[in-house]
């Protein structure tokens, strides 16, 4: 795994994916220190060209960009998010776990599998009536 990210980190998630949204909402609720900036890449307002990364690439897997511009993708992106919660021992140990030999390639493989089937997962509906699905949005 790379060096620890510099906070705050920007998390690019697909708000139209119900599983992805639920996961990110979980982190948003825990982020009392304001270490996460959440951007819904399914929003019409999202401009991928601002980050020199294509929409297709953003959509393929979870992306995180830290304050210094370092990009983390897939399992590394989750690892970077977990670093935002230094007091949470579970995230600490999961962060260690995914760096272990054997476990790391397995975790990458599992995530790639998830990334491939993600498009077939249920879409969010209730919070997307106007076409945007931002985390934390109510009604």
């Amino acid at each position: 795994m790379p060096n620890a990210p510099t906070f705050p980190i920007t998390v690019f998630y697909d708000g139209s994916c119900s599983v992805c949204s639920a996961e990110i909402e979980h982190y948003r609720r825990k982020d009392h220190a304001g270490r996460l900036v959440l951007i819904d890449i399914s929003s019409p307002d999202f401009k991928p060209e601002m980050y020199s990364i294509s929409q297709q690439t953003f959509m393929f897997e979870l992306h995180v960009i830290d304050r210094k511009g370092k990009v983390y993708k897939g399992i590394e992106a989750f690892w970077a998010i977990w670093q935002a919660f230094p007091a949470a021992t579970l995230y600490g140990i999961m962060g260690t776990l995914v760096t272990l030999p054997v476990i790391n390639p397995l975790a990458r493989l599992c995530y790639k599998g998830f990334a491939r089937i993600r498009r077939y997962l249920p879409k969010t509906k209730a919070d997307c009536a106007d076409g945007t699905c931002r985390i934390g949005k109510k009604g």
Partner: protein
């Protein structure tokens, strides 16, 4: 087995304690001793004593950190000798 030692053997993925962030490891051990050693009979030991004891057991490999991926929980358990 000394009652100050982790007294369970548990299945799970073993996490080498050396690879855990030192701050995280300290919090884990503090959580562990608070959870497992709340017995008033242990009042002769301070939290720091208990943390040092568990750390020593990890260092001497008489205890290990395990992670259960099913329940997403971790524990510190005695190593099988």
């Amino acid at each position: 087995m000394n009652r100050e030692q982790p007294d369970q053997n548990e299945e799970g993925i073993e996490i080498p304690y050396e690879r855990i962030n030192p701050d995280t490891l300290l919090k884990m051990i503090e959580e562990f001793v608070t959870r497992e050693w709340a017995d008033p009979a242990d009042s002769g030991y301070t939290l720091e004593d208990k943390v040092a004891q568990v750390l020593r057991q990890l260092e001497t490999h008489t205890a290990k950190v395990v992670f259960d991926a099913t329940t997403e929980t971790w524990n510190i358990v005695a190593s099988r000798q």
